[in-house]
Symmetry: C2
Subunit: 129 residues, 2 copies
DNA sequence: TGTTTTGTACTACTTATTTTAATACAGATA
DNA sequence: TATCTGTATTAAAATAAGTAGTACAAAACA
């Protein structure tokens, strides 16, 4: 999977990496058990320090998406915890997003339709209704 | 409306204020045209510097939620722009949340149900399904 | 054995952010 | 006039965040 970094984004590089990997797993681009590139290789590919990639991997590992493998690099976890709900942080974030959507005139139905499309056809969801 | 600041939160104070006001508007706790407390009064109530409150008000004003009223303090805007869609930033954030929900075993149906409840009965939505 | 590759711990540097502070000012109000 | 509003300005301090450099241990392999 290709990691594309936006240099001018206000999202830090290590988070861009982390987010793209999470989305990659959710979208099936990264399969359970699959090896990620070594921190140094990915860093060189992107053109950054390998500790920045390491920070992303550390975060993913801490969140349960990755397991460390000193032999062949980091691996996507085989069995996900399936926490059965959102984390407290994500839950609060979602409440905030719903409030803002509501105030911008997005109906509950439209919002759900948008989310459903994100579930089903990730990558092809247009932003404007 | 009462603004409750979590001192140990990793979200900065001015953002906590801003977020709670946005949610307050969405939930009908703050009505269009309603006056917010003066920056100095709210600051003293919370126990912070009034410029921190001012920063929150500035942000809300910039986002179109508030209008300045030099006579009796800031006021909730009467007519919202109804931007007709999410901002690009919020859209990306939502994509991220959907991915994470998906990986945690939350189905599209469950996710939509949760969002719908957030729309309809804000404040009473439990985090655990 | 030696070499290479892996992740990681530790440290450091730089930059950005957040919060507080002290004033000052202009418009509105009583 | 006196007092209330928001706001502009500037500064300072503290904290946090991001990125990077070096060194090291475990594993793999020729």
């Amino acid at each position: 999977m290709v990691i594309a970094i936006k240099e001018d984004s206000d999202i830090p590089i290590y988070l861009q990496i982390r987010n793209q990997i999470v989305q990659g797993i959710a979208q099936g681009k990264l399969l359970p058990g699959e090896h990620l590139p070594p921190v140094r290789a990915l860093a060189e590919e992107i053109g950054i320090n390998f500790m920045t990639v390491n920070k992303a991997y550390q975060l993913l590992k801490q969140e349960g998406y990755l397991i460390s493998d000193r032999r062949k690099g980091a691996r996507i976890r085989e069995e996900f915890p399936l926490a059965g709900g959102l984390s407290a942080e994500t839950f609060e974030l979602l409440k905030q997003i719903v409030s803002e959507a509501q105030l911008r005139g997005v109906s509950a139905g439209e919002f759900c339709e948008l989310c459903t499309k994100m579930y089903e056809e990730p990558g092809t969801v247009p932003r404007t209704k």
